[in-house]
């Protein structure tokens, strides 16, 4: 599903945010990325989502070679991915429901089906009662969960989540990861970045540890390729 070969990313003339990273995530797998702040976790996820281009190296995602993705193919590629942002990136000019519905609108879902799916996603993150609220009025953890609902509402084949539990208490964090695990169980591949080493290790999934832009495998069954 994801394959990076000797990928390096450098922003301007700064030090390399990622150096020679190679990794593989098989279809249907679920893996975590850990590492200290500034290690390059967000950068790695953004590269895989095609939001940044690597300075060197090759990235393949879901059968696409990102370097050779034509502009016409980009929307289709992005629709197959769900993204949870570290800073949520919700739209404050519309209620929670509309935020979550956005990917479905892009996919031209019809109203009744859209409503059903948005409600289901909000229910899964425990925020069904907040569907009419403006996201501005929500707590940081609630906003984060709206972002998660938006990322999974269209049932993507690949979920890329950047600190999805950063603002959640331990119980909720575990619940969200279990939700991802459920989706993973029905075929969604997931790659999740997190600080919370203890929580991540308790999931019993492969872990890719990033340190200073380099992969250090300390995986249970993870595979630096």
């Amino acid at each position: 599903m994801i394959r990076l070969q000797r990928v390096t990313k450098r922003f301007g003339s700064a030090a390399e945010a990622l150096s020679n990273v190679s990794l593989r995530v098989d279809p249907g797998a679920m893996a975590f990325i850990t590492g200290p702040s500034g290690a390059g976790k967000s950068t790695l996820l953004r590269l895989i989502a095609g939001l940044e281009r690597p300075t060197r190296g090759r990235i393949q995602v879901n059968g696409h070679d990102l370097d050779r993705l034509s502009p016409r193919a980009i929307p289709g590629f992005r629709r197959s991915i769900g993204l949870v942002f570290q800073d949520h990136r919700l739209l404050f000019d519309r209620p929670v429901f509309d935020n979550v519905a956005l990917p479905l609108e892009i996919l031209a879902y019809r109203r009744p089906e859209m409503r059903k799916r948005v409600r289901a996603a909000l229910d899964k993150v425990g925020l069904l009662h907040k569907e009419a609220a403006n996201p501005r009025t929500l707590s940081a953890g609630e906003q984060q969960r709206v972002g998660i609902a938006r990322a999974i509402v269209h049932r993507p084949v690949l979920l890329l989540a950047d600190e999805p539990t950063g603002n959640l208490d331990p119980a909720l964090s575990r619940e969200i990861l279990r939700l991802f695990d459920d989706f993973n169980g029905v075929g969604m591949t997931a790659l999740i970045a997190s600080h919370d080493v203890g929580l991540v290790e308790s999931m019993g999934k492969p872990i890719l540890h990033l340190e200073d832009g380099r992969i250090e495998a300390r995986a249970t069954t993870g595979q630096p390729a």
Binding site: L83, L107, P156
Partner: protein, 309 residues
């Protein structure tokens, strides 16, 4: 688990997507009514001016058509020898282009003139009759080319005669009308271009305010068409509003200027009537508004969405 599957899979879904875009665009406009009304007002003003010119020109052409019904050629004979006059009369009898002709004797004309004067004594000051003998020709044709030919034929027989056909000023009016149309085309095109640029600017700045929404939509796989669709509907809404507003301005302007214009025309003995614009004028105005609104939105959104990632 195959999210692309539903994309445009049915015509109803596609129509719903368009209806959503239109509704969303309308909602956004209603949320910021002042800005939208300014756009509509600008477009309305810009459309109303050439439309008003157009109606004036149309009415002026109706004026020339009115005159056309009864073309006349007058031959002033003061410097013409009697032989030539006889030749003229002979020609007038035989020329098929002549319906009939009347000899207006100078003395007769003076007598008639005297009757119309408030103080006929004035004419006694004159040593001799200043009026020439006149032949008033009523042509059998109203075709401008045939009239011109007849006129030339008469002038050739009597080079000294003053030949005045009242289709002269019809011709002048026609060429003025042509000139007016050309000016209208240039002014209209320039104003239209200005309107498109202003609306493009408005569309681009509106899109810039929605930058985050556009960024998120892009990341979620929105296509260029999807992102610009609400703007295009917005352009059509502005265009519709602008067209309606321009129509109201036009009707008001004509109602206000009708009396003074007709009075001024009456002072020149012109049977000028300013008719209210017909349905076709108003429909054209509406279509022009829609076209300009759409073009502006297309230009503006194309530009604004191009620089975005």
């Amino acid at each position: 688990m195959r999210p692309g599957r539903r994309l445009l899979d049915t015509v109803p879904a596609w129509m719903e997507a368009h209806r959503d875009a239109a509704r969303r665009s309308l909602q956004r406009r209603l949320q910021a009514p002042i800005l939208s009304l300014i756009s509509i007002a600008v477009l309305g003003f810009i459309l109303a001016l050439p439309a008003y010119l157009w109606v004036l020109l149309d009415n002026a052409r109706a004026l020339s058509a009115h005159i056309d019904h009864d073309p006349r050629i007058a031959l002033y004979l003061d410097a013409v020898e009697p032989d030539t006059v006889a030749e003229l009369e002979h020609h007038l009898e035989s020329d098929a282009r002549v319906e009939r002709w009347d000899w207006i004797d100078a003395d007769e004309a003076l007598a008639q003139y005297r009757e119309r004067l408030a103080d006929p004594g004035l004419l006694d000051w004159l040593d001799e009759n200043p009026l020439p003998d006149v032949i008033d020709v009523v042509p059998a044709t109203t075709d401008p080319a045939a009239l011109g030919a007849l006129r030339d034929a008469l002038a050739a027989i009597a080079p000294g005669a003053g030949v005045v056909s009242d289709d002269d000023w019809v011709r002048q009016l026609n060429s003025l009308h042509q000139l007016g149309l050309r000016i209208l085309a240039v002014v209209g095109a320039l104003l239209g271009l200005g309107a498109v640029l202003i609306l493009a600017l408005a569309t681009a700045s509106e899109l810039r305010e929605r930058q985050e929404e556009i960024a998120i939509s892009r990341i979620s796989g929105a296509t260029h068409c999807f992102l610009r669709r609400p703007s295009l509907y917005g352009g059509l809404i502005t265009g519709l509003g602008g067209g309606v507003f321009a129509g109201m301005l036009l009707l008001t302007g004509i109602a206000l200027s009708r009396a003074p214009l007709e009075q001024a025309a009456a002072a020149f003995d012109l049977p000028f009537r300013l008719a209210l614009p017909g349905a076709s004028h108003l429909l054209t105005l509406l279509l022009a508004g829609l076209l300009l609104g759409w073009l502006g939105a297309r230009l503006g959104s194309g530009h604004a969405l191009r620089d975005a990632p």
